[in-house]
Structure formats: C-alpha cells, structure tokens
Symmetry: C2
Subunit: 728 residues, 2 copies
C-alpha cells in the first residue's frame, strides 16, 4: 500500500513500518537538507519502493542525501540539485561499515550540479556497495569537484562478486578537473583490484565526460562493459587494474575533439571485442587503442603486464593514435605477452602515421587485420587493402573493402541520449560563452563600467563607446562570462581602479578584454596589487580569461603588481593573451603557480600567448606549475607564438630563475619568439612524456635552462649562435 | 532648520538643498548599503550638520560609507558595523581626486569591526584629506584587515600644511595583523614625507592597538602628538619619516605585556618632551626609546639620519629596552648627530641592563640624566642615584630621588577610556577564550561530537565522557572557540572522520584538543587529508589551536596526510602542541608556510612545541615561513622544548631539506630537544636581527643547516660530538 510523506520525520516513520510491497511517496516540493535513511527489507516478489508524487516535482536540495540499506528496495525519481551532500556520498548503498544494500535498485534519479564549493574536497554521487544492485536510467550531469561520479565499492567481502548492473544511465557533461580524481565511473580500487567485482556496465550514454583521462577506471576483475556509447569524451575506458574484463559492442565517437580516446589496456586477460572507434584524436594514454607496458613484479598500484589480452573485431576510423607498448620506460619494461590482435580494421582519411610502437611487440600475435593503403604499418603483420568508409544514417562509418570478415558489426550505437537517463528532466547545457548575450553601451566615468556589469547577464558585451577613463573605486566581481570591448575605431579607452584588484573572477565568471588600455596609475600605493584575480576561494567552475588587442601599462606604483594572479583550487580552461603590449610591471604577468602541493593539480589547462610584447617586467611573463608524478591529466598546454620578451624577470624580487617558468607542462610549443635581456626560459620537464618544442626562437642576453634534455629545439639562436639540443 | 531623512535618496535631496545652518537628521534604524555623499557648503558661523535621530540608534551596515566634501560640515553620531565599505575608505574627506573637505568635523562616530572578509585587502576607516578638519570623540575598534585605521592623506598641495586636529578619540582593540600595514594612525606617506603636514594629535586613548609595531606611523613634517595615552599597545609611536615633529605629554602604559614600546626616532629635529613610559617590555624597534641609525644619503623611503633630535624630561620606569643607534648595519651606518638627551630619568626595579648601544653615540649629548643605581650605564654620561618609584592613585609611578628636576611632570594620563570616544556605545570585548563557557557531555558514536558542537556556544567545552570511538562522517566546521576534552580518568577517546579534513577552523573559530587520540583509520583513501585545516578562504580573525595530552596516530591511508594545514590569509595567534605523541604521518605535522609571496605576511605568531614526541613523520614537524625583508612584525616566535623528533622528514615526497623548517622567524628558542635519524633542523635567518638560540640539543643522524651563522648554540651535540657555532 502507498503512503505519502511530507518531511523527513514522516519518511523515517514510514520506513520503520514499511512492509514488503509498500510504496512510500515523497510529496511534491523542495526537500531541503533532507538526509533520507532508507533502511528496510522487502522481498524479491514484493520490494519496498520509494518514489515521488510527480517525477521532476520533487527535488532534494541543500545538504540532502540518501543512504539505502537492506534488501529488495527500489528508489525512483529523486532529483538532487542546488546543494551538496553533507557526507562524501549523495546516493549511498550503505548504512554504515558492513551494513549495505543488496538486491536494490536506484532508477530514474537525477543528480545535477550537486557540488560543494571546494573543488578538491572529494565527493561521490552514487556509491554502490553490497551485491546484486542495479542503477539504471539515472541522469548525472555537471559534476565539478574531485571524486568519481559513480563508483562500485569493494571494501569488504560483502561487496565483491557483486553482480551489479549499471545500465541505461546518462552520464552528462563533466568539466575538465585539472587533476587526477575526475573519473566518471570507477569499479573497485587498487587495493582490492585482484578480487572479482563482477559488475555489468551496459547501454550507458557518456557525453562530454572530460574530467580526466580515465572516463571509466576499471580497478577490479570480471567486469563487462557492453554496448555503451562515448560521445566526445576526453579520455578512455581504462583497464587500470584487474583481470578478465570484457568490453564489447561499445561505440566511441570523438568527432575530432581533442584528447578523445578509446580503450587502454593493462593487466591480464582483458578483452576488447567488436567495438567501434571513430574520429578520436587522443594520443599517448588517450589513444583509440592503447596497450601498455607493465612493471615487472608490479606493486598492486602500479602497472601489471598485459598478458593474454584479446582485441578482436574492432573498427578504427580516423583515429589518430594506436599505441602499442605505451608507457615503455625504465620502470615499465614488461612488454605485452600472449596477446592477440585479430580481425581488426584500421583506416584514416587524413593521416598515415597512426601506429606508434614503443617497445617489442613480439608478444602480440597479429591475425587477419586490415589497414587502409595509406597507413604506415611496416612493422606490423597487417594487410594493406583499399578500404573506404561512409557514414550511415546512424552516424556510423560503414566499411567497404576486402577485409575478410574483420572489423566490428556495429551499425548503430545501442545507447543514445534518448534511450538513457530520464525523459522528464531538462538536459540543457547552461554555460554561455563570450559574446552570446546582448550589448550594453558604457560611457567613461567613475564606476560606470561596474554599474553596467551589474545590469548584465551571462555572455553580455559591455561596449565602451568612447575613449576616455573608465575608473573604478569598488571591487569589480565577475560572476558570469562578460566581455569588455572597445567600440570600433576609437582610441583605446583606459581602465583604472583604486582597488588592489581591478577585476576578481568569482566562481562562474569569465572575462574577455578587447581593445582597451589597462593602466596602474590610479591603483593604491600598496604591495601586491593585480589587475585580474581569481576568487581567493575555491572555484568549482573553470574560468576563461581572454585578453586581446590591449595595452597594459605602468603597473608599478608599488612592489608585486601582477597582471593575473590565481589562487589555489582555481582552474582556467583558457588564458589567452593576443596582440597585446605589456609594459612596466613590478610583478608577474601570469601567475599560475599556486598548486605547489605536487598532487598533480594545476591552475590552467591552456595558456596561449600570441603576437604580444612584454617589456620591463620585473617578475615573469608566465609561471605555470604542474607538480606531482601522476599521469592522469591532459594539460597544462602552453602555446607561445610571435612574442617578444624584453627585459623580463630581472627584478630583484623575482625569486624564479626565469622570465618564463614552464614546470610539468604536458604540451609546450614555443615558436617565433624573442627573449631579449631577460632571465632564461626555464623548463622543468616531468610527468610521463611531455611534448616540448622550441622552434625559431632567438635568445639575446638570455638563454634556456632545463632539468633534462627531453625536448626538441629547431632553429634556436642564443646570443647570435644557432644551437642544437646537444649544444645547449 | 532641521530635516529628518529616512533613506539615501532623501538624504541626497536634503544635501542638495542644504543651506548654512541646516541640520540633516538620519532617522533611527539600520541603514543598509548606504553610500552617503555629504557634499555641501556651510559657513564658519553656520555649518551644515549631519546628525542622527538618536545616538546609537542609527547604524550604517552592509556596504555603507560616507564621503564628505565642501566647507564647514559636521558629521555626528554615525555608527558603522556589520559590513564594510565597498570602496577602500569608510569615512572619507574626499569626493574625488582634488575635491576634498575643509573646515569640517567628524565627531562621535563609531566604526566597529567594519571589516571585509579579505584579511589582506587594504582598507582605511577614516581618511582625512583637505585642510583644517577635525576628527574627535570617535570610537574605532576591532579593525582586522590590512590598512591603517585612520590616516591623514597628503596626496596633493590641497592636503598639506593642513592644520587638522585629531583629538579625544578612543582607538580600541586592534589584533595583531602578522604583516606590515596594521598601523592605527598614519600621517602622510613616504612620498610626501618631507612636506609639512601640520596635524595635531592630542588627548587620544589608544588601547590594545596591536596591529604591528607602528602604533602611529608619522611620515610627514610638523606634527604634534600631545597628551595621548597608550594602554598596552604593542609597538611604538614612530617618527618613520619627516622632520620637526613633537611628542609631548604622552603616557605609555605597558603593564608588562610583550612587545609594548614607546617612541622610535628617525629623521631631523624630532622631539620627545615630558613623556612618561612605564612597564614596557619591547626590544629592538619596539623599545621604550629607540634612536635609530640612518642610511647615508637615504632614499626617501629608507632611513634618514637622526639629526637635531631632542629628548628631554622623560621618565622611564621599568622599561626593559632603551635602544641607541638601533638598526645599525652595513646599510644603516649614519649615526645620530646634533642630538640631545637631557633631564631624563631611567629606573628599573627588575632589570639592570636596559640600555643597548649599537654604534657610536658621540653625536648625542647627554645632560642632567639620572639612572637608578642598579642600572648598567657605564658607557653613558648619566648620573647614578638612588631613585624609587611609587604608583599614585592615577596609576602613574611617582619618582623620589635626587634627580635635579629631571623626569616628566605627568601625574595622571590626560586621556583615558572615559574622556575619549563616545559614552553611548558598548565597549565590551567580544572574544571568549577556551573554557570560559559551559560544559556539554558527549557520548561515543557517529556524529555525536558534531551534534554537540552544533549546540555549543563560544568558549564551551565538549567533554567526552567515555572512552570509545567518536566518529564523524560530515564536515566539522568550527566557527567559535571550542574545547574538546576527555573526561578525567578515562582511556583516551578516539576521534575519527571519513572526511578529508577532520576539523576546519573557520573565521572566528579556535580549537583546543585535550586528552584524546586522533586516528586516521577511518579517513578516506585520498591524497591530501588533514586533521585540522584553517578556512581555505581568508580569515580576518586570528585563531588558536591548542593540542595537549593527545596521541595522533596513523595518518597514513594515502599521501600527504598532514596534521595542521593552513591557508593563505590566515593567521594563528598561537599553535601549541604539548605532551603529545605523533606517530606515523605521511605528511607534515604543522604546515604554516602558505605565505610565500615574500610580502612579510606569515601564518602564525607563536608556535610552541613542548614535551612531545614526533615519530615516523614523512614530512616536517614544522614548516614555518615568514618571507620578505620588512621589519614591521613581531613574530613569528617559535619555542621548542623537551621534544623528540625520530625519523622525521625522510619521506620521498618531502620537498624540504629539513625535519623542521624555520624561515624568517623573528624569535626562535629550541632547547632540550633531540633530532634522531631525521632531516636537518633548517634555519633561514632573515629580517632585521632575529633572535635564534639552540640550547641543549642533541642531533643523531641529523644536523643543523643554515644560511648564515647569526644564531647562538649552547651545548649542541651532533653525532656524539659537542659543536660550537664555529664548528658547525
Ligand atoms: Ca584517474
Ligand atoms: Ca608599518
């Protein structure tokens, strides 16, 4: 029988009296700070069900959460939003240590941006303990802080060989975390990774799951990944630990997006059968297929040798990187053995060089594999043949060619946005980009710009209509994307502030500056001013800062006057400086070096300096720091092109031995750039195999310093002499 | 005629129409976010007055402030609290650059804890521009963030030779800032310090003004400091820059409080006449009388030579330090010249060694000065005589002895708590200390401790009545002083948490732990856990952490598990660890090293480690960092006594070359302590003349490293051999 409850006490009273077959119905409305403890016992025939009066009309907000324990329970229709769990889990199949849910089901639940403010305080949205549980048709979107979105926990025997089923869920957008710990789904942990988990993950839809480079982190044995779709997800399905897992019938759509990958294999007897991979660009650990080297006698948390891997009947279309023996180094020297690559098809319409072989592949048997004729595959026992690919009405490339039955049989992705998740909840993306809103005209004056901002909405453009001074005597706190742009054809308007920070980008904010002069003349006579600061507190939204066609002048009223200063637990998607002149700063231009704990966290994903001049900078032009040794992040990525650094870094308070500090950056291209009378370009290369190329650069009264020579130079001149890497 | 206004628009309308002689009355109530612009012109005979309906019944809250501009205006009875100014000034005698107030008066106004959340975002409560203004009978209390409480600005000619009068104000409690920028009153800035300011500061009461070591920072010429009282203020009245200033009739009561000082002299023709100094303990730049060396051809912001100083008829009773030629070093080599010390009396009932002479004092003429017989004054031309001192009913020591008319004539302090400030506003101090509240009994269980805390008030004690596990699965955020104490006679109760931080000290919070075991066994398997964290955001209240009789065990579930982790813009008054055992940490015990900007900011004033054992600590026991070169802070102070460090600092992730990092610490005593199989004690000595003494310490498989030998060692043994400083 049914029983409607209107508050937490009524709910707990109903739970206490619940009999098999009962239905407890949460009344429509907002349930604030509702900590629901659903601890009861139904039967297989007569489960006890928790549901809602009307789907979508019941929301759990504030500090709400649910724990489920007992047998044969069903939870249906909950929506968690506008808050975060007071504990570390939102939906937990656990009452307390050793007391779990079994034979229970969570279905049609939504967790939407249910994130605490602390970016690096770990939190899990769905934590599955016990056995024989099912999580299906849930919609999980916009997780922003560290911690896996959904996980199967194997903390004790009661949670192993669990026979869980995770199916038909819609794993929505997850932003890049900029650290390890941004997995969307994890099964097990390294501690128990040699135990059998036995979970089936099938027919789920993963969309824009960009948290880190493990979309799924498999860390246990005996799991099945069947018929899932990965839509433009950065990263891979990773068999990180554990044996005897199977991936079959999965579809990976990269659509050319950066860092999109397929399947990465480590450990024993892991299989990839009849999967489809298309338009994946990821390289290194994010390749479309990555078969790794292991560590001999590996510790349980390192890399076990690939042994008995089976990779059959897969199709790879326009995937940039297939990586064999990936990660080969002094430590990871155990090559794949007893493995089979059979009946696969590889073609690429834009690239020939898709295979990279890092070590001895004699332990991998190749049988009946076919590659398109343009593909370089001399070292591989594969057959070249004419292969063409045409997209069918389902967006799947179908293959034509003499491939002798090889390749995948998939003609359509099993899981898609329509047949997963719930159909009663809006799936709109919320983030507005620069310039997508309305224009607001602003005149020169005191606080006019700030007043205009206060009238603006996300994506609006503040157009400075006349030259002149736009002065601010109050804090300018930016909480949504905003552009500040000079009208066309006018002299650069001047921005001035009497506050120590001209702009503070708060959580949710992003800033574009275009065509303006920024001048420090009105800034207070205090140490430590800056023009742009991030929030001083944690930001769980990534931000963007784009500065184009600007002059930045005379930030020199006192010591340590920076242009951009970032704080801990903040992360820029992009910091761009283009066509700008910076002249006379007592501090740094870009300080992105706050994450010094060496936990693999860092302050910016993309830093791009383009066609800009930096003159008389006492500090550095850039201090970009990514410490730690883990290899689970994409960035930082640094691109410097057509820049000039003149008298940079020579201030007596510059603690760095550099005009540009590049520490732990994963991808670094510096080209067509001059360093004149400046402290060195300082490279500290670490974490995996970072890509670092210095091309067409000229150093006069300046040089390059580095911790090792794992980088490339091409046409680099130091004090008039061309230098090869060897000569450095 | 009078006109009552009820909101900001009405106020501005009234101002617009105001005629000489008008009175504008703010209606009783809370004025939220009221930005008052009082821009009008009265006459000398008929000023325009802004007052309140009832004193104390009108408060300006939120983002309120007032600017005053024009002539002959009076502002009376405003109270600013519960908020902070949206600009950098609360009460400003300025409309905009070049447009100031003249002949105006601010009287009986209150600014109480009107501080923004950002500790290091600078802000001034009363900024006086223009000429002939008066600020009197104001009460300014509990300024917490950086920036001077009241200042006379001299930004242009319109603000110089200003004839301002600052009188009968009550400058209440100001906490230690832990950085430069905590002055209570400043006249001018170094830029214009050779111009005449001409302000009179008289009959003000300064109470517990502990912000930094300049209570008053005089940075201009021609000011008078008359008949002010300094009650237990840390620091001095400092003639930092500027000439021809006079201090006369002032009274300094130290009452033995640490760092209390008198007058510090730099520059030309500055005078101290007939002042009274008692029970001041300050040393170095905080001495009772400090006459400094200058820099030859000094830049305007360095130290000008003392020339023509006059110090007559002052009395010093029980003042620990008189410093002559203070700050003498390679840079500050210009000794005082043409100066006179005449008719002064010095006695000390507890100390003989009050004079310190750092350089050549031949440029100071001594005439008719008297010291008590016990005082060591061989190098000085002073007369020893029997002098006794007896406190009169006003708390002033009166002198008996043959002093030939020398000494001060002061028999009572002119300014006191009663005749300054306002009498219609409560002057209660708010901060409650540990153990001053009620006791609340707590039983073992899940979240019981947190639930008890949620019922508690400031100063309460949570008494753990039984041994057993007190486990937490939620954040424990501490927003007021609280003690967590085991009941007497029970086994140590265990505290455990499944959160990454067991306790977070938020702004206003302080934590005492006594008699408990803290165990990491339930902590999550994540990097970067800690037991106690400060707020991750700025704290404008200093906090205390006292840990006594505790065991801290097995913080090792993952990497970087610290005991205390502090964040930027937080400051501990005291961190105490006493009678504790720490065993098995993968991180640091005390991380107080977040202020790495070298702006002279630091994370803790007093760190005390007493009778404790630290064993198997992968990181450091202490990382205490105070960077920068300015000399305006008291601390940090570190005292280590009777401790043992065993296998500390050897973790491969410890980036520091030390088991204890002591950087820029001003006072450091390490005694009776063993370092065994541990990384070195690492001393980085900087800023002025830090005091560093290592006494009775034993290093086995450990040592001391240092940047210079400006420290003392006494009975130090390294690997069995006694070492002198020379041998290190
Ligand atoms: Ca990971
Ligand atoms: Ca100062």
């Amino acid at each position: 029988n049914g029983c409607k409850v209107s508050n937490v006490d009524e709910f707990h009273a109903a739970v206490q009296q619940a009999q098999p077959g009962d239905v407890i119905v949460l009344a429509a409305g907002v349930w604030q700070d509702a900590e629901l403890k659903f601890d009861a016992n139904g039967t297989a025939e007569q489960p006890i069900k928790l549901t809602v009066e009307k789907k979508g009309a019941v929301t759990l907000e504030g500090q709400s959460r649910i724990t489920i324990s007992g047998e044969h329970l069903i939870v249906e229709g909950l929506v968690f939003k506008n808050g975060y769990s007071p504990t570390s889990e939102v939906i937990s199949f656990k009452k307390k240590k050793g007391v779990y849910a079994n034979n229970c089901r969570v279905t049609e639940c939504v967790v939407d941006n249910y994130n605490g403010p602390e970016r690096f305080e770990s939190n899990t949205w769905v934590a599955i303990y016990g056995k024989n549980n099912r999580v299906d048709h849930c919609y999980l979107v916009d997780k922003r802080n560290i911690g896996v979105t959904m996980t199967v926990r194997m903390v004790d025997e009661l949670c192993r060989e669990n026979n869980h089923r995770i199916d038909h869920n819609y794993f929505g957008y997850r932003q890049n975390l900029g650290a390890n710990g941004g997995e969307t789904l994890r099964l097990g942990t390294s501690h128990y990774s040699l135990s059998t988990c036995g979970t089936t993950v099938e027919n789920n839809y993963f969309e824009y799951c960009d948290g880190e480079h493990e979309i799924i982190s498999n860390k246990s044995c005996g799991n099945q990944f069947l018929n899932n779709t990965f839509m433009e997800c950065r990263g891979t399905l990773t068999y990180r630990h554990g044996n005897d897992n199977v991936a079959e019938g999965n579809v990976f759509f990269g659509n050319g997006k950066e860092h999109t990958g397929g399947i990465r294999i480590i450990n024993k007897r892991n299989k990839a059968i009849n999967n489809y991979f298309a338009d994946l660009t990821g390289y290194r650990f994010r390749g479309a297929l990555v078969i790794m080297n292991g560590v001999p006698n590996s510790a349980i948390n390192r890399y076990h040798q690939v042994d008995g891997g089976v990779f059959t009947n897969n199709t790879f279309v326009n995937c940039d990187h297939i990586q064999l023996c990936a990660g080969s180094d002094d430590e990871r020297s155990a090559i794949p053995i007893n493995s089979l690559i059979e009946n696969n098809v590889f073609l690429h319409q834009g690239r020939d060089d898709i295979f990279t072989i890092y070590d001895d592949i004699s332990g991998i048997e190749f049988k009946n594999n076919f590659v398109a004729e343009n593909i370089n595959a001399e070292q591989l026992n594969v057959t070249k043949t004419e292969i063409t690919a045409t997209k069918n009405e389902n967006g799947i490339y179908e293959i034509t060619g003499a491939v002798n039955g090889a390749g995948s049989s998939i003609k359509a992705a099993a899981a898609n946005a329509e047949n997963t998740g719930v159909n009663w909840y809006s799936k709109q993306l919320r983030n507005k980009d620069f310039g997508t809103g309305k224009s607001i005209e602003v005149k020169p004056g005191l606080n006019t710009l700030l007043e205009a901002y206060n009238q603006s909405a996300s994506g609006d453009v503040l157009v400075l209509s006349e030259a002149g001074d736009y002065a601010m005597e109050k804090k300018f706190e930016i909480s949504h994307p905003i552009s500040i742009v000079a009208a066309k054809g006018i002299d650069k308007p001047r921005l001035l502030s009497s506050k120590q920070e001209m702009f503070t980008i708060q959580n949710g904010g992003s800033l574009q500056l275009k065509g303006v002069e920024i001048n420090g003349e009105m800034s207070p006579d205090l140490t430590g001013n800056c023009i742009v600061s991030t929030s001083h507190y944690s930001m769980n939204c990534n931000y963007k800062l784009m500065v184009e066609d600007c002059d930045v002048k005379d930030l020199d009223v006192n010591k340590f006057f920076d242009f951009l200063r970032s704080y801990k637990s903040t992360h820029a998607d992009t910091v761009l400086i283009k066509n700008c002149h910076f002249d006379n700063l007592t501090g740094h231009v870009l300080r992105l070096d706050e994450e010094t704990d060496d936990r693999g966290i860092f302050n910016a994903e993309y830093v791009i300096l383009e066609n800009s001049v930096f003159k008389h900078i006492e500090g550095t032009v850039l201090d970009l720091y990514r410490g730690g040794t883990d290899e689970s992040t994409f960035g930082p990525t640094l691109k410097v092109n057509e820049c000039q650094l003149i008298n940079v870094g020579n201030g007596k308070r510059n603690k760095e031995n550099g005009s540009m500090m590049v520490h732990g950056v994963q991808v670094c291209y510096i080209s067509n750039t001059r360093f004149v009378n400046s402290k060195p370009l300082n490279l500290h290369l670490t974490n995996g195999e970072p890509i670092t190329k210095i091309t067409n650069c000229d150093f006069e009264m300046s040089t390059i310093v580095f911790n090792n020579k794992e980088f490339e130079v091409d046409n680099v001149t130091i004090d008039g002499k061309k230098k090869s890497l060897k000569q450095l």
